[in-house]
Symmetry: C2
Subunit: 172 residues, 2 copies
Amino acid sequence: MDMHSTETAVSSSHPRGEEETPWLSAREQQFWRAHLEVSRLLDYQLGRELQPHNLASNDYEILVVLSESPDRRMRMTDLATATLQSKSRLSHQITRMENAGLVLRQDCPGDRRGLYAHLTEQGWETMQKVAPDHVRSVRHHFIDRFTPEQIDAMYAALAPVAEHLRALRGRA
Amino acid sequence: MDMHSTETAVSSSHPRGEEETPWLSAREQQFWRAHLEVSRLLDYQLGRELQPHNLASNDYEILVVLSESPDRRMRMTDLATATLQSKSRLSHQITRMENAGLVLRQDCPGDRRGLYAHLTEQGWETMQKVAPDHVRSVRHHFIDRFTPEQIDAMYAALAPVAEHLRALRGRA
DNA sequence: CCGAGGTTGTTAAATGTTGTACAATATGAT
DNA sequence: ATCATATTGTACAACATTTAACAACCTCGG
């Protein structure tokens, strides 16, 4: 998914008499566009720096989630939810990663419909090999460009928004 | 795009003796994940609220860029750059939008290789119809959840990062 | 126990995206 | 002017994602 803006060209021509549209102020718009630009370019750059490891961002995300999961495995549906993918897409994705030897499908004891996606030893090793480079990327292109105060302030500002969006997602 | 994290599970097991990996501190990690989560869920939600208008985020972004462009048109390559898409992908995308009546391909006077993507009247009208709803979405899920001070502070923090990433992108 | 209705994960087909190669055209040094 | 080099947009093929349909399985009220 991607992007959005809030119309400079359009907002100038008001069909008057209708419910007023709350256009963004100059500052709001600057901020909004900066946020958008950083999100997108950062995704782009981090994905780029993952390529030498033969991993797409999607693959890496799966590895992260699984490696932090109990027993390094997770139910397909939960994994799909956690990574914001459709079940179908995840199914394909896991098939690919299975072929690459990073992950394994595992029957689910309690529920014979269910499957676990389980990180293989090779998947775990890949993780350990890739993660340090990735952290360095995140630092270099993002984290290290803020002061500790900025980080605290931005976290305080963002956390409630994340919560709001998570809640929305939940009951969608 | 997507993802990334900086490994809690992995960072605990150090193969000692190698160049130390600069893992994120707890605060840094919280912030990083909040940023990621907000970016992704916001994209998701805004895309969702664009669906009733029969537009994908990609389509909307093209409309925005074109509607703010002189003469409401732009060279294919410039549009591809502006929207962070490959030329190939943009070509397909414009074909689709052309079929939908939103956009038109137009010969380029000075350069017989070139083409403009030109917003049609219908494209412009679509823009005017959709933009107000989109702004409301952006406000409701993002902008209105910050104080003016937070907005100023975050813009000040993000702008240099955007510039850094833009520069990287430029010489890639 | 039965069956209606929900959930799980996969699949096929349609659609979208990426990477590479290409023809047409421009540009610039000589 | 001429040629080597670069740029523009498209086309094809390989790949990824979405959509809708599905079989297999759980759950729970009766």
